[in-house]
């Protein structure tokens, strides 16, 4: 599509993927600021948390990417730190962000599930923009498909990471659509929440389920596992585990709320 958004006369440029992460981050901050007025969450606790989440997401995503591609590129510590220069793996970002979130909410004695419910819709919106960035960059591309497939994507830009001039499944668009669907569901649901954590658990489980299916059509898979005769990617294994954990927690918290209605 368009991996380089624009290039200045001195040769410096803005990468579409990083730009869409920037737009997604900005949209998420605005949405959280608006939602805090409604929920009454304390901004003096939430903004520092967002700052830590941003840093941990970027470094987590970069660390996992460098680990996955270490054999091919031999990344050193400086490459890992320079996250703005290379690829990111969003699952790594999610893992480190979760660790940071758990430590921070424990330290500041914040409501773990209440704050997570506040952050879930903006996080879904952020993922939507991030996946549009994948589309523009040409990463996270799909397997080859029938050229007559109506949604097939063909990358022609020489800077794109995806194979050029081949009809591919539009996995980036599918991921973006999944994130947008999750955003709409949790956004509508947030005013009818029955227990703390419902929004988070619905959003996470729905996205993991959709992402698990979409990954079957993805071609740039890195680490693969053989599970019960089926080849699953690293992301699919993570999606499956998080999906099961979310369903368990949903049932557990819902039962807990029913048994203790106060």
């Amino acid at each position: 599509m368009k991996p380089i958004l624009f290039r200045l006369a001195d040769g410096s440029y803005i990468h579409s993927g990083h730009f869409m992460l920037f737009v997604g981050g900005l949209a998420a901050i605005v949405l959280i600021a608006l939602e805090m007025r409604r929920t009454g969450e304390r901004p003096e606790e939430v903004y520092p948390l967002l700052l830590l989440l941003m840093v941990s997401t970027l470094f987590g995503a970069r660390i996992l990417y460098c680990l996955d591609f270490h054999d091919q590129h031999g990344y050193d510590l400086l490459d890992v730190l320079q996250f703005w220069k290379g690829g990111l793996a969003l699952h790594g970002g999610a893992i480190l962000a979760l660790v940071t979130y758990t430590l921070y909410t424990g330290w500041r004695r914040l409501d773990f599930w209440g704050t997570a419910d506040l952050l879930t819709p903006p996080a879904a919106l952020f993922v939507f923009f991030a996946r549009i960035g994948c589309l523009l960059t040409g990463c996270c591309y799909g397997k080859q498909c029938d050229p007559d497939f109506p949604l097939a994507l063909t990358f022609t830009n020489h800077s794109a990471i995806a194979p050029k001039n081949e009809a591919l499944y539009p996995t980036q668009l599918a991921f973006a659509a999944a994130a947008l669907l999750v955003f709409v569901v949790v956004w509508v649901r947030r005013r009818h929440e029955r227990f703390g954590g419902e929004i988070t658990l619905v959003g996470v489980s729905l996205f993991c389920l959709l992402a698990f299916v979409i990954e079957f059509f993805r071609a740039d898979l890195r680490v693969l596992y053989e599970v019960g005769g089926i080849t699953l990617s690293q992301n699919q294994v993570m999606n499956a585990l998080v999906f099961l954990a979310s369903i368990y927690l949903y049932i557990y918290r819902r039962r807990e709320t029913v048994s203790r209605p106060d």
């Binding site: 003096e44 903004y47 941003m54 840093v55 220069k85």
Partner: protein
């Protein structure tokens, strides 16, 4: 400087600014509340003791 890094720096500084702003605003609100006189415990003047009664 790398333009892509500038994008992230902008977000970082925005969040840092919002964090400081919200903490300072909270402190100002708390101090303002502490400086306000507590009207519930202030002695009220006797309504029958008018200003004019003390004159002279």
């Amino acid at each position: 400087m790398d333009l892509n890094l500038l994008l992230y720096l902008f977000l970082f500084l925005l969040l840092l600014g919002l964090s400081f702003y919200s903490v300072i605003r909270k402190k100002i609100d708390e101090n303002g509340r502490r400086d306000e006189p507590d009207l519930s415990t202030t002695e009220t003047a006797d309504p029958e003791e008018g200003i004019g009664d003390k004159g002279g």
